[in-house]
């Protein structure tokens, strides 16, 4: 799953090291337009619904945080 997530991220914004970066939002690597694309792609790829309340920097600052959010949402479903 992590590999698939990083593939999506690299497709949307190639200029980042998603293995290590933990400041994707704080450092404006992912902007609001990237987030719009990202949420749509993640929902499609992982068959999960990401509600608007989940769109907070803490959930998108790193690939690990995104994965944790997806796993949590899948678990809740």
């Amino acid at each position: 799953m992590m590999e698939q997530l990083i593939e999506i991220l690299e497709d949307i914004q190639p200029d980042a090291d998603y293995e290590t970066c933990t400041t994707l939002i704080d450092d404006h690597i992912l902007d609001s337009l990237s987030i719009l694309s990202l949420v749509a792609e993640l929902e499609d790829a992982f068959d999960v619904t990401i509600p608007t309340v989940e769109i907070i920097p803490a959930n998108f600052n790193s690939a690990q945080a995104m994965m944790a959010m997806i796993n949590r949402l899948l678990e809740e479903e």
């Binding site: 497709d11 949307i12 914004q13 609001s32 337009l33 990237s34 719009l36 694309s37 949420v39 749509a40 792609e41 929902e43 499609d44 990401i50 509600p51 608007t52 309340v53 769109i55 479903e77």
Partner: protein, 530 residues
């Protein structure tokens, strides 16, 4: 007591509230704050108090209803297999949405009826006249309760947050009532979220020396901005905007620049008084300004100006629209065809359009406010569209985008766009705004700066010098704050005699250079009218 900067509020109402609150036992303090808040409302809007009472009771029971549906859903979910859970969630989501939609329609409907029905009726009448339909529409006129636009947004945010499950419905009507009408933020915001302030308001923390001095510092700074700068500029701005026909483009430009300055000083100064008042009770309201005139883009400007309104629109309009199922589909399809930048921009711009139409209308019922919203929508959208091109041009010209010079250029450009927007915002209607803007373009003459024209607009040389020095002082404070230096902590670390010397100096500055008394007309709270 027409404003938070009046003697009635700062000299009588607030001290009584602070003393009464401080001497009461902790468990009764929230009741006293609620009593003060309703008294404040009553003094300003009399029997229109009924509106906020209805709103409060409505959101209280709607919250409980939503909570009940959620509880029922959770009980059902705990008894079924994993595969059935999705269907149950959807079934209960529909129920919740129905309740929420009805409640939002009620609140927004009331806002539209009271605030916008005269505007709508006038426009329908104009349309009928244009189409030669012999029908006369009675233009309704309603008295507006104070803070209607602010507390309505708070009410809606509370209900949506309960629906989303980010907060639990409040079973305590008193706490919810205080969240809705806390007197310092009632008239002009900041627009608070339930999770930010409700428990602080209810907890009844003691008034300490620290809170009293920190709150008073903030109030004094706000008064300085309001009385020394905003009120002094009022004479000029009133005459320029009401009699603009007799002036040339130079006067229009000066009027627009000084109005932008006045609006910032008035609104941010009032916010300082509001946040300082709450701080005395150890209540920390969200900030509404973060040095907006250091913004490099219009988008950044709106993240620093009236922050709580911008966040409200982002959380309750931008994301719900841009993240709706249809928009997500549109984003995915458009990204495949238009690429990573322009693909999501399509859905983003639809959501942005909704935000800016609402933002314009929130400020008032008039075509100039709609224009104001669309103007910012256009600027932000074109900024996004042009971004890749600008990057390519600056790269080709070897211009460093993170250099100070480039940043200053961006700040200058943003400030010019803001000033043009505020010209339309203040103008007496859209036609007047367009005429004033046309004058700047066609009747601008440098000679007006030296032939004494600017000294015949209600402000003399002394007024200009006072305003200039005061603005420079605020600018210096803002630069320090932008660099992360806290003036308040610096002052607090000084010995008591230095601290009080500073406080007295500010008080003296306000007394000596404040624009009040004969010949001056203090500006009415601008945002209270929204």
């Amino acid at each position: 007591m027409k404003s938070y900067c009046s003697l009635g509020y700062l000299g009588i109402f607030l001290p009584i509230a602070v003393i009464g609150y401080a001497f009461l036992p902790k468990k009764y303090r929230w009741m006293f704050l609620l009593l003060c808040s309703y008294a404040f409302f009553w003094m300003l809007s009399k029997k229109l108090l009924i509106y906020i009472l209805i709103s409060t009771i409505a959101i209280h029971y709607i919250g409980i209803w939503l909570g009940f549906i959620q509880k029922e859903r959770d009980e059902k979910l705990s008894t079924v297999e994993r595969g059935e859970k999705k269907a149950i969630r959807l079934q209960y989501q529909k129920k919740q949405r129905l309740v929420l939609a009805a409640a939002i329609c009620f609140h927004i409907g009331l806002l539209v009826l009271l605030k916008y029905s005269p505007f709508l009726a006038k426009n329908v009448q104009s349309l009928l006249t244009m189409l030669n339909v012999p029908l006369k529409i009675k233009i309704p006129k309603f008295a507006l309760p104070i803070g209607l636009s602010f507390y309505t947004l708070q009410a809606v945010s509370y209900m949506i947050d309960v629906y989303r499950g980010t907060i639990k419905p409040d079973q305590n009507l008193g706490r919810l009532a205080l969240y809705m009408c806390f007197f310092p933020s009632l008239m002009e915001g900041p627009i608070c979220r339930y999770a930010q302030t409700a428990n602080q308001l209810y907890s009844g923390e003691a008034v300490t020396y620290h809170n009293l001095t920190y709150g008073s510092q903030r109030i004094l700074y706000g008064l300085f901005k309001k009385i020394v700068i905003a009120d002094r500029l009022n004479l000029l701005i009133k005459s320029v905007f009401s009699d603009f026909i007799q002036y040339d483009g130079t006067v229009m430009l000066v009027g627009a620049v000084l109005y932008t300055c006045q609006l910032y000083m008035e609104f941010s100064g009032t916010m300082d008084v509001v946040i300082g008042s709450a701080e005395i009770f150890d209540i920390h309201l969200p900030e509404n300004f973060q040095r907006p005139f250091f913004s490099k883009t219009i988008s950044e400007f709106w993240q620093r100006w009236h922050i709580t309104l911008g966040l409200w629109f982002k959380d309750y309009i931008f994301y719900p629209v841009s993240m709706s199922k249809r928009m997500k589909k549109l984003t995915m399809n458009a990204r495949k065809k238009l690429g990573n930048h322009y693909g999501p921009l399509l859905a983003g711009s639809i959501a942005l359009f909704c935000v800016w139409i609402c933002n314009g209308l929130w400020h008032g019922s008039g075509w100039n406010y709609i224009f104001f919203g669309l103007y910012h929508f256009f600027l932000i959208l074109s900024g996004s569209i042009l971004e890749p091109t600008i990057r390519r041009i600056t790269d080709a010209l070897h211009i460093k985008r993170d250099s100070k010079g480039y940043h200053l250029l961006q700040i200058g450009k943003t400030t010019i766009f803001v000033i043009i927007g505020e010209l339309f915002f203040r103008a007496n209607g859209l036609t007047a705004g367009l005429a004033m803007f046309k004058k700047i373009l066609t009747e601008f003459s440098l000679s007006s700066f030296v032939d004494g024209t600017l000294l015949n607009l209600g402000m003399d040389l002394y007024d200009y010098v006072v305003v200039l020095l005061a603005v420079l002082l605020v600018l210096a404070m803002s630069i320090l704050k932008e660099k992360g230096i806290s003036i308040r902590d610096m002052v607090a670390s000084k010995p008591i005699y230095v601290r009080w010397a500073i406080y007295y100096s500010i008080i003296m500055l306000i007394i000596i250079f404040g624009a009040y008394g004969e010949g001056y007309a203090p500006i009415d709270p601008i945002y209270a009218n929204f």
